[in-house]
Symmetry: C2
Subunit: 216 residues, 2 copies
């Protein structure tokens, strides 16, 4: 990408900064993943901003659709205005980007399997009517059906936004969503184990310090 | 496409022959569509071959996956060997072709709607257990569920084969499948009202005659 440049002559040749990083809400919302950053989404986001403010070698991005999701989970009045400057909001250029056609086969194969799974779950629910009340069955059906049809699949506009933005920016995608990671693999998008997010930020702070030390 | 050439100097400039045409099985299998060609899939295919043999300005293609489907519906020993020469079998170059990324949004939106529809159908089935036996309900559920989840959607490897082959060859796609027609529209693929298939072949015969008369 043309906006990248070499920050320091001490780095090996071919190392260009800033690196771009695309973040998913799951990093702040999923309790297992955010726990190293904070007990609540708000705390986790604050901790991220505190760390990110010290990093000069990374640019953080989030599609506006995902940013909206994030704001829904945090206490907005507690979040410093830094957020808007540190975390860039950018939608992907969806009418310019192309994706390899063989992915259509994979997506459709994936959907077929899930649709069949959904039907089997529905059949089982009908067969279980003698044991439980319709209301109980339907509650159970909804949960199982949604789990079966959504697990490990890209199933929303927001998911596509994340993948395409990472593709467009040649960025590192950080998410706790297994469906997204699976698709990042298919598309050759860089991704990070989400539980390493804090380590990654701390590593970047260290490196930022070293680099600015060298260029002084 | 580089294989195209001008057959006749009598045609307006920019008219290149042969045109490529990609055919779907539905033309021979769907009773409403094939009726102008024959009463059975076998008769319809024979009638097509009889007409196609007289056409010099069109090249007919079918992905092997669709060709296999077709053979399943016809009496193979009645079909002249012509078939293999007149109807070219070619898979799309699925690892070279690209498709516009915004289509991912449309496909995923489409799937979401259908998945929700499927769940509503399943819930209704569970609620109807007081009136009918589970076996009856499940039979009905299967039909409704499949209809809801498959109608107007590209839902198989074969569908993707047809679309990508038409895209690759810049060909005219002829199919009776509304899902495919909807996607041909999105992708800018030429398509023909399937009930006009026989008229189109007859028009091409007439034009083939005119052109060979002129070039004699």
């Amino acid at each position: 990408m043309d906006a990248k440049e070499t920050l320091s002559s001490g780095e090996p040749e071919g190392t260009f900064y800033p690196y771009r990083v695309v973040l998913d809400t799951s990093l702040f919302v999923n309790p297992d993943v955010r726990k190293s950053l904070g007990d609540t989404p708000t705390e986790a986001l604050e901790a991220f901003l505190f760390l990110a403010a010290q990093i000069h070698i990374l640019e953080f991005y989030m599609p506006p659709s995902i940013f909206e999701e994030l704001l829904y989970f945090v206490e907005k009045d507690k979040i410093p205005e830094d957020l808007l400057v540190i975390l860039h909001q950018k939608p992907p250029k969806k009418h310019e980007l192309k994706c390899p056609a063989f992915l259509l086969y994979e997506l459709i194969e994936d959907i077929r399997e899930r649709v069949n799974k959904g039907l089997r779950i529905a059949e089982k629910a009908v067969r279980s009517v003698e044991k439980r009340s319709p209301d109980e069955i339907i509650q159970d059906l909804r949960r199982k059906y949604r789990d079966a049809l959504r697990e490990g699949i890209i199933d929303s506009k927001e998911d596509v936004d994340l993948l395409l933005l990472a593709m467009e920016l040649d960025a590192l995608l950080i998410t706790a969503d297994q469906g997204l990671i699976k698709w990042a693999e298919k598309l050759g998008i860089k991704w990070l184990f989400p539980e390493k997010f804090k380590d990654y930020l701390q590593g970047a702070i260290k490196r930022s310090g070293l680099l600015s030390g060298k260029t002084k």
